[in-house]
């Protein structure tokens, strides 16, 4: 008696008990589909995050001053930024980063604003996409001119349209705003969440760092800057060299005041967290697979009892213990596998459906397909062995006498 016939017999038996077979599979279907959906979404999410980071540039390094321990003379200056860019060959772009909250108003609208003070290199480091106009240039930065770049959402709320290059807008601390010229409009930062942004959200505005100092009458005490290396591989070295240069220029080599963080590292951390999270949920889903397996065993046991007479007849006409064992085992494996395949289909479609809602493209890897189908058959074998053994061990005479 060959494998193929055994499978055919098992399928016949499954088909002749459609409803029961389906209910048996249900646990497997739920288990497999949730594992696949979760893992695919998790991997897709990781890819999305990685993609975002790559857009910003994994070659980007954030350098910060440990403000709690730093004295006034330890803070980064615009000159430092310029030197880092000019003297370190790995560094392609460098920008200071300051941040202020305040107000921005047009004739039409007044609202709170977040100002980012930077230089012209921010355009490359932040990978800015402009819809209209340009980013401010080096001269405007050096001279501290009153120019700004705003985003599409802010433009809409201040002027009602988005092509607002050349218009003026008042910016600064709420008590004393000053006129600035809009030189560029960038694409909304909110991406897929655009629809959720409400008009009262603060406007997001790039200003030359030098002008931000004037607006807020602060001496440039820069605690944060970004550099971008010429390649991903040089990012780490660029960070260390920049740190060194800062320590030399400020003569504070003895105190470890500067920190260089590569976004690459952060990406790894985030991916690790997402990975652990995915694994955790997948493990929970896998437990439902075990429950599904117990369901298979349960139904197979019922089936063995129900078919006691059939087993007796088969034995009476010459079936060996191994034939009966194999017959029932095949049935439970096939039920589990069909459940696994249905679960796979549902899981993948579910992942794409949920992914569409969440803006994630799920990543269905061949491994996960193989693993889940393999796992389903393993569940079928593991939970099928006991009932199959029970069937195979039945005494032919007692089985025949069973009503």
């Amino acid at each position: 008696m060959n494998l193929f016939e055994n499978i055919k017999m098992a399928i016949d038996s499954i088909i002749s008990n459609k409803m029961r077979s389906f209910l048996t599979m249900l646990g497997i279907i739920i288990g497999i589909s949730s594992v696949i959906a979760i893992v695919s979404l998790g991997e897709g999410g990781q890819n999305t995050i990685t993609g975002e980071f790559e857009k910003i540039g994994v070659a980007t390094i954030k350098i910060t001053v440990k403000t709690a321990e730093a004295e006034k003379s330890d803070f980064i200056t615009y000159k430092d930024v310029g030197q880092i860019k000019d003297k370190i060959s790995y560094v392609k772009y460098a920008t200071p980063y300051t941040y202020k909250q305040g107000t921005a108003n047009s004739e039409r609208k007044s609202k709170s604003a977040m100002f980012v003070g930077c230089n012209e290199d921010m355009y490359y480091i932040d990978n800015i996409e402009l819809l209209y106009g340009r980013f401010f240039n080096n001269i405007e930065f050096e001279e501290g001119r009153a120019v700004v770049v705003i985003d599409e959402t802010a433009a809409k709320s201040f002027f009602g349209t988005i092509d607002v290059v050349g218009n003026t807008i008042n910016i600064g601390p709420t008590t004393s705003t000053k006129k600035a010229t809009i030189v560029g409009v960038l694409k909304s930062q909110f991406g897929m969440f655009e629809g959720m942004v409400d008009d009262d959200m603060p406007a997001f505005i790039y200003v030359p760092g030098t002008y931000l100092d004037i607006l807020y009458s602060t001496q440039s005490q820069i605690s944060e800057m970004y550099i971008m290396a010429d390649s991903k591989d040089n990012a780490e070295a660029a960070g260390i060299l920049a740190k060194n240069m800062l320590m030399n220029r400020h003569g504070n080599r003895d105190r470890d005041l500067y920190k260089a963080e590569s976004l690459m590292k952060q990406l790894d951390q985030i991916n690790t967290v997402v990975g652990i999270f995915t694994a955790f949920i997948a493990a929970v889903a896998a437990i439902s697979l075990l429950v599904g397996g117990v369901g298979v065993m349960n139904i197979m046991l019922v089936s063995v009892t129900e078919r006691t007479r059939e087993i007796g007849i088969r034995k009476a006409i010459g079936a060996k213990t191994s034939n009966i064992m194999f017959q029932f085992l095949t049935e439970s494996v096939i039920i589990s596998c069909i459940g696994g395949i249905i679960g796979l289909i549902l899981g993948v479609s579910g992942a794409y459906l949920l992914g569409r809602l969440a803006g994630i493209t799920p990543s269905v890897s061949p491994q996960i397909i193989i693993i889940s189908i393999g796992f389903a058959s393993a569940v079928g074998i593991f939970f099928g062995i006991y009932p199959a053994k029970k069937a195979a061990k039945l005494d032919p005479i007692e089985a025949l006498r069973y009503e």
Binding site: M1, I313, R314, A316
Partner: protein, 230 residues
């Protein structure tokens, strides 16, 4: 060739021991047609089950076709049931979810006969019981007499040397009983050794030898006088 010697079969249910066969000895030569009769509970079915290797005896010796059965393990017994013995039951015992043809093919599945050969042999066996036309039907779609013919076809399909029939006509009316007995007699004429259990004296008249049992023992063993031959 069947030779049993002092077979004892004891059933143990809880603390109660019941000896259904109390030392039965019997010898049946190839080509014989033996009927076993006796009151209900005297051990006829028990004897048939032991002879059919379905049940194990408690003690005694059983030699079938020159082979000692007494000490065999389950798998060997299955092999013997598969190839040497054809069993016909009172309650037909067909598999309800399979077609008639598949039912008849099943013993060959376990005997490892290739698929194509199986179909041919199954149809041939069904022809021998005069039932070659309804092979695609399920057992619940045919009459009792037809079911028993299917069961006989299934019993003979692996060409066993011995056919054991435990009250094969017990559920059938007189007319159908005659038809079934005609088939069994024909099988015997074709060379099979037949052992048959019945309560009906007329049925016994189709055989060549009658054994009477009582209380787990054979009480007499005679040639059939005025045998009915079709």
């Amino acid at each position: 060739m069947i030779k049993i010697d002092n077979i004892i079969k004891t059933y143990t249910t809880g603390k109660i021991n019941l000896t259904a066969l109390k030392g039965v000895s019997l010898s049946v030569k190839p080509g014989e047609f033996v009927t076993i009769m006796g009151p209900s509970g005297c051990g006829k079915s028990t004897l048939m089950n032991v002879l059919g290797c379905l049940d194990k005896m408690s003690s005694g010796k059983y030699v079938l076709n020159g082979k000692d059965i007494s000490g065999l393990v389950d798998n060997d017994l299955a092999e013997i049931r598969c190839r040497e013995i054809g069993f016909v039951f009172q309650s037909f015992n067909l598999l309800p979810r399979m077609s008639i043809l598949e039912n008849v093919e099943l013993p060959m599945v376990y005997a490892g006969v290739p698929k194509k050969e199986r179909r041919e042999k199954a149809l041939e066996a069904l022809r021998r019981v005069d039932l070659a036309d309804r092979v695609k039907h399920r057992p619940n779609e045919i009459s009792g007499g037809q079911k028993q013919r299917v069961a006989i076809a299934r019993a003979i399909v692996n060409n066993p040397s011995v056919i054991l029939a435990d009250e094969p006509t017990g559920n059938l009316d007189t007319k159908v009983t005659k038809e079934i007995m005609k088939i069994i007699q024909q099988l015997n004429n074709d060379g099979a050794t037949v052992l048959l259990v019945t309560h009906e004296p007329e049925v016994a008249q189709y055989s060549k030898r009658i054994i009477h049992m009582r209380d787990g023992e054979i009480i007499d063993d005679n040639e059939v006088i005025d045998r009915i031959v079709f």
